[in-house]
């Protein structure tokens, strides 16, 4: 317990020494907090239609009402509540997609890098094939031909981005393989599965964490682009709010602007935190 606390404190101290890192952490904590307690924070029901209060501007503007802080959308639904609920789904989607991608990509990267040979080239050709088709095109294709819902979206983005993990893990494993402790383990006849799970996996975790944080950001962006193209998952996500609001950009700017700001700030936070993590966990990598 005590050592845990100590490392936590140490990390906190390291975080505190980096301005951008702590800014990122504050943003992410705030967003996570709002997402977790969305139902307590949101003042209105997100589906509650009130045509008499349609397209109200934010409360500080002329014509705004105090109960609708960020104004209302075309159907009189409270924008503040919707943005807050949006954080919940957007983050959930981002994190789930990253988990799916990691669950596929990390083992493949481990195996590919460790065994090499045919297995390696087999998986790497699949990776090449995957890279050759833009993620958004894969998503467009699959979601366009199947039913676009949240689960589907998570799976598609996860399956379309696993290669990032496979590549990163593979190259880590390739260099780890040359290290003495792995060589020793192999020579003394430790089973391959044990080497993979006990020795290699823990050593690639930091790279995986760095890649994951940035992938959450990418997923949020992809989700909003798909919503724009009319194939997003039908749910109250920031992306959907943003793309639905674009038609009112000139008349009711707030409908699209606040979700847009939410996306930008969150992605900003994730990138800042990710950069910091990269510097701390992996001081040698630059890209």
């Amino acid at each position: 317990m005590k050592t845990n606390q100590l490392t936590f404190l140490k990390w906190l101290k390291m975080l505190g020494s980096s301005k951008t890192g702590s800014l990122g952490a504050i943003i992410i904590l705030t967003v996570t907090f709002t997402a977790s307690f969305a139902s307590f924070i949101a003042p209105h029901d997100v589906y509650e239609v009130n045509l008499n209060a349609a397209s109200l501007p934010p409360s500080w503007m002329d014509g705004g009402e105090s109960q609708y802080v960020l104004g209302t959308d075309r159907l009189g639904r409270d924008l503040f509540s919707r943005v807050i609920y949006g954080s919940q789904i957007s983050l959930l989607v981002g994190i789930s997609a990253v988990i799916v991608a990691g669950v596929i990509g990390v083992p493949i990267g481990l195996i590919s890098g460790y065994y090499g040979g045919f297995i390696d080239s087999f998986f790497m050709r699949i990776v090449d094939a995957n890279i050759a088709i833009p993620v958004i095109l894969i998503a467009l294709f699959v979601l366009g031909f199947l039913n676009p819902n949240l689960i589907m979206f998570i799976l598609v983005v996860g399956v379309a981005t696993w290669y990032t993990y496979a590549r990163v893990v593979r190259s880590e494993v390739l260099s780890l393989k040359e290290r003495e402790f792995i060589k020793a383990a192999r020579v003394t006849g430790v089973r391959n599965s044990v080497i993979l799970i006990r020795h290699l996996l823990p050593n690639v975790t930091s790279s995986v964490i760095v890649v994951s944080t940035l992938s959450v950001a990418t997923t949020i962006i992809i989700e909003s682009s798909l919503s724009f193209l009319g194939l997003g998952p039908k749910a109250i996500t920031w992306g959907a709010l943003l793309s639905d609001g674009r038609d009112y950009l000139a008349t009711s700017w707030w409908i699209a602007t606040f979700p847009g700001i939410a996306i930008t700030i969150t992605v900003l936070g994730i990138i800042l935190l990710g950069d910091w993590l990269r510097d701390v966990l992996d001081p040698h990598s630059h890209v």
Partner: protein, 530 residues
């Protein structure tokens, strides 16, 4: 260090300058070429009289092809109609008038004698003859892979009498033949041209007898037309070139209009009108369309919607006027039937009216045994119809107020069609249907037979009988009564709940006189540039 900074600033400045310089050079080039190929509408408005007058129209989707008989797209026909003339055509008031025809009259129930105007030529100079008519109509009538085939398969034969006279023989009496022949199906193709050069050549270099001839089609970008000098009604005056520009994103279309990039913008939402009208030099116009929005209800016994009381409650729970006034901003009219004014068989009593009585709706639900609430699924093609997402969210909230929990299932368009056709849409689906031939037969056929594809399982002997009688009935008064009776029964039994008749919204530059048409066609010869 300071010097480095300075240098960077200078470097950036130079980059920007060079970009601007390049683009200026480009612009200069364009200026020089203006007399030849300038296509920007903006230039037109500024141009002198002796310069080209180019009419630019922004449309959301590209045309499908120049096989005018193998598509099912109003957008595409709206372009084709300028290149191809039909045997008959609808005037701006939607009255059917002869176009290529000089005269037409029934010989008997299945034969029509028709004669062509003389001296009409295709864009390559070939004269239009009855041969072309036969070639065209029999192609559509016989080739079942063509999408227009379904409408013109009633034509059995075209008999040529001489160069300009021919007879159309139909399969049984066809009271709607005139309606069918005033659509793209009777757009006449050049027989000799196609036979000599091949079909592929025609598709890339289409010619017709219409007021405009084809110049260029850059897919997903633009279609360019020019007036045909020898158009049989005389060359269209005041327009030297027409450009249809494909712009899928609605805000981009509006931005083009606001900045003078285009003269006419189609497919806008009522919300856009305010923004357009706020700017000088452009305005928003609207006209009733042929489109009617409705809820389709499943009549299968496993569904609560098979109970007439539930169906009535749903209709009573919906405040149509809230939809037409607040969501569609007045650009729609409440209706209880799909056959709107201007269509044969329209029922005036069911139009511009609606039933709204939430208390009665609650009562009905209680009577039906759903006093504790009812949960229904509503399937909707995501973002496919004008404002449909919002409208359905509002409907859901209205139904919630009488105790019906609606779970909206958003699916994409093709998935929607699958679900609808398989009857797997839950209890309700929302759709907006048009009517391309201005006749009740098409709008009411789904209630009469098993040709309906939503598997709603609605059956009514009287409706079936009336519809079959009306189909080939050449007594038009009686036929109208039969259709009106069907509509009364439908309104009573509610296999579908009709909601509103929607207007089409356009944005127009003040330099152009444009009257929107109910059939959504963009007939350029009726437009004027100032």
């Amino acid at each position: 260090m300071k010097k480095t900074l300075m240098f960077m600033v200078v470097l950036c400045g130079l980059l920007i300058l060079s970009l601007v310089a390049c683009s200026n050079a480009e612009e200069a080039n364009v200026d020089q070429e203006k007399t030849n190929t300038e296509e920007e509408g903006k230039e037109v408005s500024e141009s002198e009289q002796d310069q080209e007058r180019i009419l630019t129209i922004a449309i959301p989707n590209d045309i499908y092809s120049f096989d005018i008989h193998d598509h099912n797209q109003i957008d595409t026909e709206a372009v084709h109609i300028n290149i191809f003339s039909y045997l008959l055509t609808r005037q701006t008031d939607m009255e059917v008038e002869p176009d290529l025809l000089e005269s037409y009259e029934p010989v008997d129930d299945v034969t029509w004698a028709m004669s062509l105007k003389e001296g009409i030529t295709f864009h390559n100079g070939d004269p239009l003859t009855a041969e072309d008519v036969k070639f065209t109509l029999e192609r559509v009538a016989n080739d079942d892979t063509l999408q227009e085939h379904g409408r013109l398969k009633v034509i059995k034969e075209v008999k040529i009498l001489n160069d300009y006279e021919f007879e159309i023989i139909t399969d049984g009496a066809q009271p709607t033949l005139m309606n069918l022949l005033s659509r793209i199906g009777s757009g006449i193709l050049p027989k000799n041209y196609i036979e000599e050069n091949g079909w592929d050549h025609f598709l890339s270099n289409p010619i017709g007898t219409g007021p405009f001839k084809f110049v260029e089609w850059r897919r997903d970008d633009r279609i360019i037309l020019e007036p045909y000098e020898n158009y049989f009604e005389g060359r269209v005056q005041g327009i030297d070139q027409v450009v249809f520009r494909v712009i899928p994103e609605v805000s981009t279309r509006i931005n083009e209009l606001l900045t003078g990039g285009v003269d006419i913008v189609t497919d806008l939402t009522p919300d856009d009108m305010q923004r357009i009208n706020a700017q000088e030099g452009v305005s928003a116009v609207s006209a009733p369309s042929q489109r009617v929005g409705f809820l389709g209800l499943h009549h299968g016994e496993e569904h609560p919607t098979s109970d007439p009381k539930v169906r009535e409650a749903i209709e009573l729970a919906i405040d149509n006027e809230a939809i037409t006034k607040q969501i569609l901003l007045g650009e729609a009219t409440p209706t209880r039937t799909r056959i709107t004014p201007g269509n044969f068989g329209a029922h005036p009593r069911l139009y511009n009216t609606y039933l709204y009585d939430p208390n009665r709706a609650k009562q009905l639900l209680e009577e039906a045994g759903y006093g504790d609430g009812l949960e229904l699924t509503l399937t909707l093609a995501d973002n496919h119809y004008l404002k449909a997402n919002e409208i359905n969210e509002v409907i859901a909230s209205m139904l919630a107020q009488v105790g019906i929990d609606v779970n909206i299932q958003f699916v994409d368009w093709s998935r929607f069609l699958e679900l609808r056709n398989a009857g797997d849409y839950g209890q309700m689906y929302f759709a907006v249907y048009g009517n391309s031939i201005f006749d009740s037969s098409i709008g009411l056929q789904e209630f009469a037979s098993n040709v309906g594809w939503d598997r709603a399982s609605y059956r009514n002997e009287e409706v079936t009988e009336l519809w079959e009688q009306a189909l080939n009935n050449m007594n038009f008064d009686e036929r109208e009564e039969q259709y009106q009776r069907i509509q009364e029964i439908v309104a009573e039994e509610r296999p579908k709940i009709y909601l509103y008749h929607q207007n089409e919204v356009y944005g127009v530059s003040d330099d152009v006189i444009f009257t929107p048409r109910t059939d959504s066609m963009l007939v350029i010869k009726d437009m004027r540039m100032q």
